[in-house]
């Protein structure tokens, strides 16, 4: 096609100008790709850690538990329900949890704690806590009267492996109960809210402690293989469970985390958008200048009988070619760096040795990027479209060329 040939040759006529425009575009786009992939990776990592340590992507709990948590609000017939839920397509694992508040006492003081009754074999596979054991070992099936506690709690109560502490709490009957337990393992997540507060113990023992039946739990958590299928699995779960149990997405169970992801993500997109917007100025300027400089040429073409629409199409086509080049390089460079980040990850410890906690959820010290084809296509497409729109604005000038005036 003649138009394509003319457009392609035209952009290479002034190599420096094309080079600068392509550079501006690819620079901006590769940065945008990188930052978004990085952010998405951080969020995905946080959510992954949180749902595996807590109650899954989808949580089954008593409908009143959300507003007023209490140990007597339970999900009945949990083991049977759990088998049905585990059979749903897309559910990677299920976990049973018994939760309650209490006090941990040692000879050196007392601290308020959150008591978490878990299934040791399930948690060992699913929860990141198991990896964070620094001393001793994690819970095993068949254990009873043992706990794993956080480093901060251990320091405060001066506890060490094998030492005893008293867990005191109110059971479902309202009676104050106290049990002596031994420290089997000490973990360190780096987040003070977890390390100073969470006490994990085998499920059976927790049920006894709170006077719950063996089929009662506070929460059933569903950990999904693919987080994007949350909606679908939520619906499927709702069909299986019966009142008063409800199924909630993690966004309801951990609203602070959801709010953080939305807020941080939103502000990130705004900044990236501004970056692209700034780059468009350079592109607009370049296109406009190249149009104005070629006024004589265009006037001549109009004089020869060329349609002004055709000339405008030529310039838009030129911009499209520059757009494809710029976006292509930008996606390539940004994509490669993001992919490297996805594979190798980046150790946050170098800039943030304490670890970051958002609403009691640890970010995890190693963050990975998350780059998908969909992300690249969306970003590339948006920037390319923006380039085209910019060129459309710039070519409005062509219809204003009066050949006679130019040729005078």
């Amino acid at each position: 096609m003649l138009l394509v040939k003319i457009a392609w040759r035209s952009i290479w006529r002034s190599k420096r100008r094309t080079f600068i425009t392509v550079s501006a575009l690819s620079f901006a786009l590769s940065l945008v790709v990188f930052f978004i992939a990085f952010a998405e990776g951080v969020y995905a990592g946080m959510i992954n850690e949180a749902v595996r340590m807590q109650a899954g992507h989808v949580t089954i709990e008593h409908r009143d538990y959300h507003d007023a948590p209490a140990t007597d609000l339970t999900v009945a017939d949990a083991p049977a329900l759990r088998i049905k839920l585990a059979a749903l397509d897309g559910v990677a694992s299920t976990k049973l949890l018994v939760l309650g508040q209490g006090v941990a006492k040692s000879g050196n003081g007392a601290e308020g704690v959150a008591i978490m009754g878990v299934e040791p074999s399930v948690e060992a596979k699913a929860s990141p806590l198991e990896n964070k054991i620094t001393r001793g070992s994690y819970l095993d099936e068949g254990d009873t009267r043992v706990v794993v506690i956080g480093q901060t709690l251990a320091e405060r109560l001066k506890l060490d492996l094998g030492k005893k502490l008293v867990l005191s709490t109110n059971n479902t009957k309202g009676e104050l109960v106290e049990e002596l337990v031994r420290v089997k393992g000490i973990f360190a997540t780096g987040v003070v809210e977890i390390d100073g507060y969470v006490v994990q113990t085998p499920l059976g023992f927790a049920q006894e402690l709170f006077q719950l039946g063996p089929h009662e739990v506070t929460r059933i958590g569903l950990v999904l293989a693919d987080a994007d299928r949350e909606e679908e699995i939520l619906r499927a779960a709702r069909r299986i469970i019966a009142a008063p149990a409800v199924a909630r997405p993690w966004e309801e169970v951990l609203p602070d985390l959801a709010a953080y992801v939305r807020f941080d993500g939103g502000s990130n997109y705004i900044i990236q958008g501004l970056l692209i917007f700034l780059s468009l100025f350079t592109i607009f300027n370049t296109i406009l200048m190249s149009v104005l400089e070629r006024s004589r040429e265009f006037a001549m073409m109009l004089a020869l009988g060329t349609d002004s629409l055709r000339i405008r199409a030529q310039v838009v086509l030129e911009s499209a070619m520059i757009g494809v080049l710029g976006c292509g390089i930008g996606l390539l460079v940004g994509g490669i760096v993001a992919l490297a980040l996805q594979i190798h990850g980046f150790d946050l410890k170098s800039i943030y040795p304490e670890g970051i906690a958002v609403s009691g959820v640890s970010v995890g010290t190693r963050v990975y990027g998350q780059v998908t084809v969909k992300l690249l296509a969306t970003l590339g497409g948006l920037v390319f479209a923006a380039t085209l729109v910019t060129s459309l604005i710039a070519v409005r000038h062509i219809s204003r060329i009066e050949p006679a005036a130019v040729l005078r």
Binding site: R17, L31, G102, N170, Y260, G355
Partner: protein
């Protein structure tokens, strides 16, 4: 002076091109100023929430208290420190800590009892204003408590209800008393939310038989930096340990530094994006005038002179553009400072970050140093951006330049 004017006139030869570039530079400047304002405000708000509320800028404890929070590890001579603080115009609030159980009906929870001096708290700290329901403690002891929001929720307690406190007193006996809940705090931070029971220090002394022990003095500096407060009070501290908020909450401190660093990264990126436009324009401008430069060189101008003139032209562009951008940026900054950006629609829950509550209404803070730094950097960026085109033209051969088509 003359060179500046000539530079300006050259820029005006192609008003549209200059205008568009100036707009981009102005926009970059404004964006940088406003981004720094918002992020500065976010940092400030976070640090304030971490300090002004309750923790303060500096705290004094007996050595080892922070590790085990034992009721027996009290400050040796708190009066001396309090007097020194008062003399220096630093707000100080003495506090006592003890642990125990509170219950309401069949529900109970562990609680961190904090004996405070309400007047001192009101004077120096913001927590007394953060009452969600009811009121803060009165200046006189009245057997009342103010508790954290999450604690209230887990005990299903409302203002006016009674709480039973069961504690291990300092003399070994079991303390057991009924208190009346007069206030419930707003969400202010993890630790206070889920475990705090504030009571008048006289009530605390009675409950815990604590013999007037004070475990913590929280200090708010108004004109001094936290480090300055430490330095000023060190002579009066004796064996007590004085720590700034950064040492008390390292993760908050790191987060503060992280935000600072990431703002600088973004500003640099924006400056780069804006500079590309300047280089582009200066390249076009000099390309148009190749013949002119040839003539000027033939007449005897040195390459340095041409380099200077072209760079100056780029600088003039930057100068006027940043002036415009600063005005727009400051206007935006004023809006951000007064009104701010309300994101509460975006957030359903309250969010805490490293234990500190995040305010969904973002208020900007415009620091003159930030504004000046942005302007200076933008100027430098414009000059650097013009160097490449300037060098190209300075090295032209006059004869080939003059006959350029």
């Amino acid at each position: 002076m003359n060179a500046l004017r000539i530079g300006w006139r050259n820029l005006m030869r192609n008003r549209r091109r200059t205008g568009i570039t100036a707009l981009a530079v102005a926009l970059t400047t404004a964006i940088c100023i406003d981004t720094m304002a918002i992020m500065g405000g976010v940092r400030q708000q976070m640090v304030d929430a971490g300090t002004r509320l309750f923790v303060g800028d500096v705290q004094a404890h007996a050595p080892g208290f922070r590790a085990d929070r034992s009721i027996y590890r009290a400050l040796v001579d708190p009066a001396r420190l309090l007097a020194a603080a008062q003399a220096l115009g630093i707000d100080a609030a003495p506090r006592s800590y003890g642990f125990g159980l509170v219950s309401h009906g069949i529900k109970s929870a562990g609680a961190s009892f904090i004996g405070v001096e309400p007047a001192a708290e009101r004077r120096g700290f913001d927590l007394p204003k953060e009452v969600f329901l009811g009121t803060y403690l009165a200046d006189v002891p009245a057997g009342s408590v103010v508790i954290g929001r999450k604690l209230a929720k887990s005990l299903a307690v409302e203002v006016g209800d009674d709480l039973v406190a069961v504690v291990q007193a300092a003399d070994g006996s079991l303390g057991n008393e009924l208190f009346s809940v007069v206030g419930i705090l707003k969400i202010v931070g993890e630790e206070l939310d889920r475990g705090a029971v504030l009571l008048h220090h006289a009530d605390f002394e009675r409950l815990f038989v604590s013999d007037g022990r004070i475990h913590e003095i929280a200090l708010r500096a108004h004109t001094r930096t936290p480090a300055g407060v430490v330095a000023a009070l060190l002579p009066a501290a004796g064996a007590a340990v004085l720590e700034t908020w950064r040492e008390l909450n390292p993760s908050l401190s790191d987060m503060d530094r992280l935000i600072d660093a990431s703002v600088y990264v973004f500003v640099v990126i924006f400056l780069l994006a804006g500079s590309i436009g300047v280089t582009n324009t200066m390249l076009m401008a000099t390309h148009d005038r190749v013949r002119e430069f040839g003539v000027v060189k033939a007449l005897g101008a040195t390459p340095w002179r041409i380099l200077r003139d072209v760079t100056l032209e780029g600088f003039v562009l930057g100068l006027s553009a940043t002036a415009l951008g600063t005005i727009v940026g400051l206007a935006g900054g004023a809006y951000l400072q007064e009104v701010g950006i309300d994101l509460s629609g975006l957030m359903e829950g309250t969010m805490t970050f490293s234990g500190v509550v995040w305010n969904p209404i973002l208020i900007g803070v415009v620091r003159p140093s930030d504004v000046l730094a942005t302007i200076a950097c933008m100027w430098v960026a414009c000059i650097l951006a013009s160097l490449y085109p300037a060098v190209k033209v300075a090295r032209l051969n006059p004869v080939t330049a003059m006959t350029d088509v």
